[in-house]
């Protein structure tokens, strides 16, 4: 076992310690907040790079290089079966995620120093950020589904705190609650899947030298059994766990929280949407890929679980992209874009395996972080204005922001030969390659292509709105460039993207080789060429449409209706209303919930209350008897006794008249009697 | 000379010889009392005239000058007048007590004379605790004053009585303590022993008499005694109880005629007897001041009476000179000066007695200096304290309200 594996636990521990230390610091200790959180993150980055190098070193001939380090967490019974183990694993998946998260996270931390400069709770913000980073890193390095789950929930808590960071805004508080509760629905499935997995395999460790749940023996056992309806247990477990992943990654039914989470500070948006939390779901699927991909022997077709993942991903990609077309909030557009891209990732994993999905995840993390930070810079420069209709022409005011933003945007839209084009292209290639000839199986590919067109369209629309034309905000408050500490991360991310896009670098080749252990899919060259052509067309179509609609015509004023809206008002309204998913949920789930609550209330009132009433009445009856006994037997007896004592006292106080002369009389009598007794006594003797 | 000195004693013995045996005791009593009851009222009569003449002289006027030669028979006129005046008693007065008050006062004043030795072998009774008797009888004075003031049912009378009692009680303490100094020095309560202790003289040719007034403590004691005696007998400047200008003669405002005269008489008799006690205690009693031969020619009772006359004249002089005190000054003087001085005087007496056995050269001088110092220092301190200028708050009247 290498030293890097043994010290793997340090990577999440460093930000955790920073968070703990910050929690104890005084409130206005900004210097410590900056130094501790950024320092811990930088150290974590260094350790992650070291782990990546170590992992590269280990890369041998025999498949994927993997090292793990397990320890007993608690023991509740005798023998090997009675212990619960946790552990850390170092494999290519972990290594690239670590480097990505720490690198992007570090840049976001640095950006936050500038962005949150004026905030009163500066220290608290960094405390939460550090906690979030710690949880995320813990999630990545864990070799146990249980540890992963713990960190998963910690990520949820941290995101709750961060989204609701400006809790004095009611929207922020509501968004935080929404995020937390929505993901909790998915987590419920995750928990069930985990418990089922433990019940079947007796372990939650991923890799344990042949005894782990992702290893050959366990998978074989899982596929051998089948649950109700003839579905393999592995598929059921995979789908349950996918619920959790869908919740975290904002897949279709559970995507509603993600756009709302834009209420948090922009660095939080960047951190959550770009690099980490949303990626956690994809990462989970990638981590559990063996379970998802397990196919019962003798079953025809691909793995059922992966098919569902594919469909969910494709649907989400198109769905979210459609909504993004009609949004006006700069961050909200990016949020729906994120949801859409997450759909791509799921699609990629579903059709092309871990490497395809993860590559898009990593690349997306870079350019989406860049976009979010750029958007943060724009918002910052435009005096907290988020509506793109009130921006415009700010490329002259904020050149650095504009050019970096442009690089990120072009990556996202898939300008050919940029790294974003490559990652998306791989997904589409895999999707095309995976079809079985039927139209239905070709549909994911077509949806992906349509999504690409939409992506190109809405991103160009946004850029044309925000950066070109004339400034439509208040003239007195012209936009200004952001401080250097915010520009530096932008430039760094843009530089990274440009670096990845250099023809000599070929990140995809290296990445797939590293992650898949040299095992390459054989894809026909014809497919590749077709897909490249279609992608370029899609990009051009989206871009030219946007150009015609928004750049050529120009945008009149901030309150003028959208070009699309003028043409298709009803469709645009539907899109602007986000397909009314929130309203649908309001009408269905929440209404049902309310109805259930009412039923429970009725049950409580009528049934349980009746029973309780009866029991109470019985008790009251007993109490009544007890009271009678008390009142007429004990009390009266006591009163009687007291009265007698009182009477006695009154009699005894009679002589105590307070008149001293009455006492003196008694003394006189006793004197006489005493003298008489004395006299008789003396004469008698 | 011996005959003249003992003439009254001889006379009494001679007269008793003519009295039948069973009546000798009462006769002896009568013969002891009668001269006192005759002589001192006579002196009183003379004193009233003398006082008025002297006061007149001091105040630059003539005084009584109509009755007799130079007005010297004024006392007879006054006596006759008071006897013949109507006796007015207030309707609401407590008649019995009102009547008894001057009687009690007179009786207690007269009783006090019984222990005074007026001359060699001239005393009414010779009891062991003569001084104690003197003061015990004096206690009746306060009671009489109260009776007079209370029974009159008069606001001023009661006020005066209360003032008088408060003053008498306050000054009785220094009076007693001053007398106690002599008791300590002589080791006896008998006035005869005290007179005997002051016989002879000291110094070259015994020129300085052995009177106690010529010792440090005796001098201080004598002064204290004289001041306290003036207060006891309500003499000016301590005549607040009968201040005419404030409470129209105080407790005997409601007395008239013979009763008023009785009060007057009793007051003067009290003054005489307390002055006599002062003579006995400090001024050598009936002893002659000098050991010269011609001094023996003058009878002892004459010496006594002349000393008494000196003190009475001193009081008259004081009355003509000093203004009346305020009540708070009076009380402060009694409790903050007289009483501490009298107590310190007792200590000095003890020191004086303790140092008597010293017989080395100059011991006498050291003794004197020691005692004078012991008295002078407190005198200065107390006097300064008394004279220190203090602010008086508004007075609250508790008894008169």
């Amino acid at each position: 076992m290498s030293e890097a594996t043994q010290t793997l636990w340090l990577i999440p521990t460093l930000p955790l310690l920073a968070a703990g230390a910050l929690a104890l610091k005084p409130r206005d200790n900004r210097g410590a907040a900056k130094a501790l959180s950024i320092g811990s993150m930088a150290l974590a980055l260094l350790l992650s790079v070291r782990a990546l190098l170590e992992s590269l070193n280990l890369q041998g001939d025999h498949g994927v290089a993997r090292e793990f380090f397990n320890f007993v967490w608690l023991s509740f019974g005798a023998g090997e079966a009675g212990v619960l183990k946790l552990g850390f694993v170092l494999d290519p998946l972990t290594a690239v995620m670590l480097v990505m998260v720490t690198f992007v996270g570090l840049l976001i931390f640095i950006f936050s120093v500038g962005y949150m400069e004026r905030d009163a709770n500066f220290k608290q913000f960094f405390c939460f950020l550090s906690l979030f980073a710690a949880a995320m890193l813990g999630l990545i390095v864990s070799n146990s589904l249980l540890l992963l789950f713990i960190c998963w929930e910690l990520v949820g808590v941290a995101s709750y705190l961060l989204i609701g960071f400006w809790f004095h805004k009611p929207e922020a508080a509501a968004a935080a609650k929404k995020a937390f509760i929505t993901t909790r629905i998915g987590d419920m499935g995750f928990l069930l899947g985990m418990v089922w997995l433990y019940a079947e395999t007796g372990t939650l460790l991923f890799y344990d030298g042949g005894a782990g749940c992702l290893e050959q023996g366990a998978i074989a056992a899982l596929v051998a059994k089948s649950a109700a309806g003839g579905i393999a247990v592995s598929t059921c477990i995979a789908l349950l766990i996918f619920c959790g992943a869908a919740g975290k990654s904002g897949q279709l039914p559970l995507h509603v929280w993600l756009p709302d989470a834009m209420e948090g500070p922009t660095p939080v948006s960047a951190l959550i949407h770009a690099a980490t939390m949303v990626a956690a779901g994809v990462f989970l699927v990638a981590r559990m890929f063996p379970v998802f991909a397990a196919v019962p022997p003798g079953a025809e077709g691909g793995a059922a679980a992966l098919t569902i993942v594919t469909w969910v991903g494709a649907t989400t990609a198109v769905f979210a992209a459609l909504i993004a077309v009609a949004q006006n909030d700069i961050k909200r557009i990016l949020a729906y874009s994120t949801v859409s891209q997450l759909g791509y990732m799921m699609l990629g994993i579903g059709v092309g395996g871990v490497a395809v999905g993860m590559f898009h995840l990593i690349m997306h993390a870079f350019f989406k972080a860049l976009l979010f930070l750029g958007a943060g810079s724009v918002i910052h420069g435009c005096h907290e204005e988020q509506d793109i209709r009130r921006m415009g022409g700010i490329k002259d005011h904020m050149p650095w922001t504009f050019y970096t933003y442009a690089i990120g945007m072009l990556c996202l839209t898939g300008l050919p030969f940029l790294v974003g084009f490559v990652s998306k292209d791989e997904i589409l290639v895999s999707a095309l390659h995976g079809n079985t000839g039927s139209l239905v199986s070709l549909l994911p590919f077509l949806m992906g292509l349509f999504g690409a067109v939409l992506t190109s369209f809405y991103m160009f629309r946004q850029v044309f709105y925000a950066f070109f034309g004339t400034y439509r905000g208040e003239a007195s408050q012209a936009p200004h460039e952001s401080p250097k500490i915010m520009i530096v991360p932008l430039v760094a991310l843009a530089a990274a993207l440009v670096f990845f896009s250099l023809p000599k670098v070929d990140p995809w080749g290296w990445f797939s080789g590293f992650l898949e252990g040299g095992h390459q899919h054989e894809i026909p060259t014809g497919h590749i060429a077709l897909v490249i052509f279609l992608s370029v067309v899609a990009f051009l179509v989206g871009a030219s449409l946007a150009y015609r609609l928004y750049f050529k015509r120009g945008i009149g004023s901030a309150d003028a209706p959208d070009a699309l809206e003028e043409r298709f008002p009803e469709a645009f309204a539907t899109l602007a209303g986000r397909f009314h998913v929130d309203e649908l949920y309001e009408a269905s789930v929440i209404r049902a919930n309310a109805w259930l609550a009412r039923m429970a209330d009725l049950l409580d009132r009528k049934v349980w209350n009746g029973i309780t009433q009866f029991v109470t009445q019985v008790a009251v009856m007993f109490a009544w008897f007890a009271r009678l006994f008390d009142e007429y037997v004990i009390n009266q007896g006591f009163d009687f006794g007291c009265r007698r004592v009182n009477d006695g006292g009154r009699v005894a106080t009679k002589p105590q008249s307070g008149a001293i002369q009455s006492y003196l009389r008694v003394i006189g009598i006793s004197l006489a009697v005493g003298v008489l007794l004395l006299t008789w006594g003396c004469s008698g003797s | 000379m011996q005959q003249l000195d003992q003439i009254f004693v001889t006379l009494k013995a001679w007269a008793l010889g003519h009295v039948p045996e069973p009546l000798q005791v009462p006769a002896s009593i009568v013969m002891s009392i009668a001269p006192i009851m005759l002589v001192f009222p006579g002196i009183f009569a003379l004193t009233t005239v003398a006082e008025r003449k002297l006061l007149g002289r001091i105040q630059n006027r003539l005084g009584p000058n109509r009755v007799g030669p130079f007005g010297f028979l004024q006392w007879a006129a006054d006596g006759l007048k008071t006897i013949t005046k109507e006796d007015v008693v207030p309707r609401n007065a407590d008649k019995v007590v009102h009547f008894l008050a001057p009687v009690v006062l007179l009786v207690s004043a007269l009783l006090a004379y019984s222990v005074i030795p007026f001359g060699r072998n001239m005393y009414a009774i010779d009891i062991d605790a003569g001084i104690l008797f003197f003061f015990a009888v004096g206690a009746g004075t306060e009671l009489a004053v109260f009776m007079a003031g209370w029974s009159s049912r008069n606001k001023y009378a009661l006020l005066g009585a209360m003032r008088a009692i408060a003053q008498m009680i306050s000054y009785e303490l220094p009076l007693l303590l001053a007398a106690l100094a002599v008791v300590m020095a002589t080791g006896s309560l008998n006035p005869n022993d005290m007179v005997a202790a002051q016989e002879g003289g000291r110094g070259w040719g015994a020129i300085v008499p052995n009177w106690f007034v010529f010792t440090p403590w005796g001098f201080v004691g004598c002064i204290l005694f004289l001041i306290a005696a003036a207060a006891e007998s309500n003499r000016s400047p301590f005549d607040l109880p009968e201040a005419e200008s404030e409470i129209i003669a105080g407790y005997f405002v409601e007395y008239s005629g013979m009763k008023f005269a009785t009060f007057f008489l009793a007051e003067y008799l009290g003054l005489f007897v307390i002055s006599s006690m002062c003579v006995v205690l400090f001024l050598g009693g009936w002893h002659a001041p000098f050991p010269f031969f011609w001094c023996d020619w003058i009878p002892s009772w004459a010496w006594f009476l002349s000393k008494l006359a000196c003190i009475v004249l001193l009081y008259i002089w004081m009355r003509g000179t000093l203004p009346r005190l305020r009540i708070d000054q009076l009380m402060n003087f009694a409790w903050k000066f007289m009483l501490p001085m009298a107590l310190i005087n007792l200590v000095v007496v003890a020191v004086w007695k303790y140092t008597r056995p010293w017989d080395y050269f100059g011991a006498e001088l050291v003794r004197w200096l020691l005692c004078v110092g012991l008295l002078a220092l407190p005198y200065l301190l107390l006097g300064r304290n008394l004279l220190s200028n203090r602010k008086w708050g508004p007075r609250t009247y508790r008894y008169a309200s």
């Binding site: 006189g668 009697v673 006299t679 003396c682 | 062991d128 003061f135 004096g138 306060e142 209370w150 006896s188």
Partner: protein
Amino acid sequence: MDAPFLIAAVLTLLSAIAAISLRNVVHCALCLTLTFLGLATLYLQLGAQFVGLTQIVVNVGAVAIVIVFAILLTRSSDNPGESRFNKGAIWAGLICAAVFATLVVAINTSYVSMKSGAPAPPLTVEKIGHELMGRYVLPLEAIALLLTAALIGAVIIAMKESNEKGGGQ
């Protein structure tokens, strides 16, 4: 029984009875003074000269005056319409008579009265002084302490409430 004793005893007893029965409280106090004087003469008759004179000095000169003062300070409480005797006066009188009777019986039956020693020799003041400074020096000091305490205590008790009004001498 000789005449001086009879006179003094009758005077004492009568004034004592008057002291407890007269309506006017001041008269009572004066009668008490007379009783004290009578008792003093009885002491003198018994040969206790010093005690007799001390009795006069203390009781007539001080106690009587204090009582008189107290009467004057509490004067306004007199209620002319009210009886001067309390409710149980008859019983109290009977009790007193019974006490007197028993005491007389006790005196007459006591063997102490059967024998009587020689009359005591006259007690000079000097001897009393020596006794006081010798055998009885401790009680004397105790009495001195008691008198001081009583003096201070009486002043404090009597002044307590008048202090609030500004106080007097």
